[in-house]
Symmetry: C2
Subunit: 333 residues, 2 copies
DNA sequence: CCTCGCTGAGAGATCGATCTCTCATCCACG
DNA sequence: CGTGGATGAGAGATCGATCTCTCAGCGAGG
């Protein structure tokens, strides 16, 4: 059975196309009798505005994309994305927009840009993750408004929307907390150097140490995953067996680090203090629970959605929004 | 800058609309010189077929939806969905189709059906989860082909596509394994009674016990989550303190059950044997690792995608596909 | 030399919703 | 009683891709 069109509804209600369209668009200057007939017939026939026709005519698609790295969807790392998604979904629901998750396959990076260029969506929120940093370049001249969650390294146009947390300040918070706990031989497990967020956290950490006249300890790189955290911690211990504090640039890496420290016979926090970053689920369920720098992930998602919708509606919006980070004290420090 | 249309490409290449369309559609009966000019100009202008126009004209949208329960996206339960998604995504990539995840908000159940009725997608894969069982009724007369992963309780039309694992057989496998391990006082933690899959697992379990002349132990319900598993196990112990075997209808519930058993001073598997269901990540990472009934989740996702694409292409397909379950022996039995 | 058949390419029509323009009707006021 | 303004509703045009129909041009065979 073919989908009913607005013509079917109009015919059934005994009015013209235009009148039916007017009613369904919510116009008020229509005869009440006609209007109710249209509404009734539309419901009876199960009519729904044809997506393609509406978009083609220049209207809103009523859907926006949420681009995420496919591979990270399954890992525990997903909790990072989930929090952002939750906030974004709330904002989108309020705007009567269907959220559409687009898993970005890193083997075919051009797929998402192609889809966005096809005009199927009104806009997109891209959650920057390590695996899809290359998407940034391919979306440099976006066909629809894009809100970035996390700061891309390359410069985007002045009109672009970027929602990020204060990673630099967060790095300083972590360093200060370790210093105030009396730690002096502090190592750092950073994130991937191609991610601006990771670099900002390191920069804050370095600056805070310098301000207190403390020599930075060894620096090793991870990629935000738990496994990379264990590998990184092993290297840290090798290079500085006497360290008494570690700042891990993600909670997952911190959790990995704890395992290595325990295996090496170090107690956390008595022998080595540890500060993570993100404040995702694992931070509170870990043994010991992690002291960490909290990113307001859900608020970031919400801000991205709200800003994007405003931009789509043609309103002028604040291009760059930095949300504050804060220290959450648990037992690893 | 407005998106270039096929008319822009045709003009730039010095040919007509029709010729440009022919080239881009892959027709062979076009002058090679013209064809290469069209291809060159399309690339230079960054042309991408307008989604709305193509769909409106009656073509394929080139995208299919994957409907999932929004709230389960964040929980560990997500690994269930992730495995299905992974398989489905592979099948869809092979068919040059963009997978689009639609989070189903249980507060607005009509949203997904509305979106599907709008014609934006060629079809959908619905992964049945407890929270969205009500979606089944609302999609009884689907506007596009739908492949169900998991068996809906209500009867769907004869033409519908259902991909499920052999839950009944899996229930029998679990019961037989417990019996062969010498267990005789066996309780069960079932899934929600409104899910056909959960009922099938119970049915298999009951039948297998009966066949061996063993009286079924106490029955309690959970909702597949870890927390519900702990609550259910507590009730089981209360009702049958002497039980020596438990079949949990999901790995998450089994993991929850282990915690309660340990807290009650029972050793697993020495005092109480435990068999889970699903074989998701937690089954292997749990302490002790869980003996469980494996569902071929990734294969199910792949089958759903392949079958759906075939149906969209108008091929006749096998409506109901039951994939075999198998017992994975680890240390909880 | 004329005509038939084939290849290749352009013009027109179509999909469904919606915006604009036009027009009919009615009431009120001069 | 006639005209202006307001209100409501229909016809036409539009968005972009693509399918069908039509037609020009050319080579070969009668």
């Amino acid at each position: 059975m073919p989908r009913p069109t607005i013509l079917d509804v109009a015919k059934a209600a005994g009015v013209s196309r235009a009148t039916a369209a007017r009613v369904l668009a919510g116009a008020t200057n229509v005869d009440p009798a006609m209007a109710s007939a249209v509404v009734r017939e539309a419901a009876r026939l199960g009519y729904e505005t044809n997506f393609a026709a509406r978009v083609l005519r220049g209207g809103r698609a009523g859907a926006i994309g949420l681009v995420i790295a496919f591979n990270e969807l399954g890992s525990l790392n997903g909790t990072f994305f989930t929090a952002v998604l939750k906030g974004a979904a709330k904002g989108l629901s309020a705007g009567e927009v269907q959220p559409v998750l687009l898993p970005a396959d890193h083997e075919d990076l051009d797929r998402i840009p192609r889809f966005l260029r096809s005009g199927a969506l009104d806009g997109a929120i891209v959650v920057l993750q390590h695996e899809i940093t290359h998407l940034v370049e391919r979306l440099a001249d976006p066909p629809v408004p894009i809100a970035w969650v996390g700061r891309p390294r390359s410069d985007l146009g002045a009109s672009s929307i970027v929602i990020d947390s204060d990673n630099y300040g967060g790095g300083r918070l972590a360093a200060r907390a370790l210093i105030e706990a009396g730690r002096r031989r502090i190592g750092i497990i950073t994130g991937p150097p191609d991610m601006e967020q990771a670099r900002e956290r390191s920069r804050g950490w370095t600056d805070e140490l310098a301000q207190h006249g403390i020599e930075p300890g060894p620096i090793v790189h991870g990629d935000f995953t738990l496994d990379s955290g264990t590998a990184a911690m092993a290297r840290l211990l090798q290079r500085a067996p006497d360290l008494d504090g570690v700042f891990a640039s993600s909670d997952l890496m911190a959790a990995g680090a704890v395992r290595v420290l325990h295996a090496a016979g170090r107690r956390v926090p008595q022998d080595v203090s540890l500060v993570g970053f993100d404040d995702v689920l694992i931070a509170s369920t870990n043994d010991p629970p992690l002291t960490t720098v909290r990113q307001p992930l859900e608020e970031m998602g919400r801000a991205a959605a709200d800003t994007l919708l405003a931009a789509i509606r043609g309103q002028s919006v604040e291009g760059m929004q930095l949300l504050p980070t804060s220290l959450v004290r648990r037992e690893s420090l």
